[in-house]
Amino acid sequence: MAVIDVNEKNFEQEVLKSDKVVLADFNADWCGPCQMLKPIVHEIADERADVKVVSINIDDEEDLAEKYEVFSIPCVVAFKNGEEVARSVGFKPKAELLKLIGD
């Protein structure tokens, strides 16, 4: 599945009400480590039908970043049934990201 761009309007629907586990990638264009992480996040989205991967641009979505207390990016937050279950900050290899969803 493709990575879905999420904003304030569709966040509830796409993330909080998702049946699947969600990996939310908070990022920005100016952030180098975010660009390094991007291909990995896309790989997970392509390979894992059981996981929904979403991307949130923190410059456009300041309120979401604030609400979820994102203070450093890249920040990947795992949500299950609308609740945060794990998060990782900074560039991480794929295996580390998969650990967020219990793999």
């Binding site: 100016w30 180098g32 480590p33 660009q35 390094m36 207390e69 203070f71 450093s72 560039f91």
Partner: protein, 301 residues
């Protein structure tokens, strides 16, 4: 067996890979995290010849692709040891052992930590080592910077434009950094100097709420800040190699401008070498020099 194993895929290691491939040597590059090293955190590089403006990420990606196109192999594993068996060197990673005739250590450096309890847990929840990366999240909030060098002073100046209030905490009453920057900081109304003091405690529930600082005179003070930017220097990532090559007191590998260590066939390139100027351009230069010496060494085996 490879001709050359390069440990680290930052600017020094990647440049080594380019030079080694162009010298027709077989090359394996081992990298613990991602290619690029610390330069990927720099939003805009303005002091590298030819490129007036280039982001660290774009720079790293271009050099990485250049090395790949020339045929350098990349494996993303952390090197934990080097075994010097004379004409053969073994590089041990967390999952494999690789052999080569020569090794170039280009592991660079990492941020020095404060060493205060809960520091690791609060990274990304108030603790940061990169003001230009994370400063934007502290708009209109109070923050503190710890350190006395240029990085700390420049971080404080950068944050003074964003944050409501910036405390600069330093364990002495004089700064190692430039006087001009100190002067600019003193002119800012929202900057407060907390001197002769060190951070001894981080108060946080889920995220940083305040810090406790201890003054030389024994008094303590609690300062409410949402962010604490740590700029107390960097430490070379040579911890795993002290058995095979000589390190100086600060942990840097001892080698002159020829990048040759005390161990024959083991070379060093980049920020983890003893040197005065640690810049992108000196890292890439080391890459070329280290390979030149490594090739000479291999050809004489």
């Amino acid at each position: 067996m490879y001709d050359i194993i390069i440990i680290g895929a930052g600017p020094a290691g990647l440049t080594s890979a380019i030079y080694a491939k162009r010298a027709s040597k077989s090359v394996l590059v081992l990298e613990a995290k991602a290619y690029g090293g610390q330069i990927i955190n720099t939003p805009d590089i303005e002091n590298y010849p030819v490129a007036a403006h280039i982001s660290g990420f774009e720079f790293a990606t271009k050099v990485y692709e250049q090395a790949q196109a020339l045929g350098a192999e990349f494996v993303f594993e952390k090197a934990v040891d080097i075994r010097d068996l004379g004409d053969i060197k073994e590089v041990v990673t967390e999952s494999n052992v690789y052999q080569a005739k020569a090794v170039i250590i280009a592991t660079g450096s990492e941020n020095r930590k404060l060493g205060v309890e809960r520091e690791d847990e609060l990274v990304g929840r108030g603790i940061s080592y990169c003001a230009t990366c994370d400063g934007a999240f502290y708009r209109k909030k109070s923050v503190a910077v710890v350190g006395g060098g240029n990085t700390a002073l420049e971080d404080a100046l950068y944050l003074a434009d964003i944050a409501e209030k910036v405390y600069i905490i330093h364990r002495r009453d004089e700064f190692r950094g430039e006087d001009a920057t100190v002067k600019s900081l003193k002119e800012r109304e929202n900057v407060e100097f907390v001197l002769n003091s060190q951070v001894v405690k981080l108060n946080a529930d889920k995220r940083l709420e305040s810090i406790e600082v201890l003054n030389k005179d024994g008094s303590t003070r609690v300062i409410e800040v949402k962010g604490l930017f740590v700029a107390v220097g960097r430490i070379p990532e040579n911890q795993n190699f002290g058995k095979v090559v000589n390190l100086d007191q600060s942990g840097y590998i001892v080698a002159g401008e020829d990048c040759t260590t005390n161990a024959k066939g083991i070379f060093v390139a980049g920020d983890n070498r003893v040197k005065n100027v640690r810049q992108l351009v000196t890292a890439t230069a080391d890459g070329a020099v280290a390979v030149s010496e490594a090739v000479k060494y291999i050809n004489n085996l």
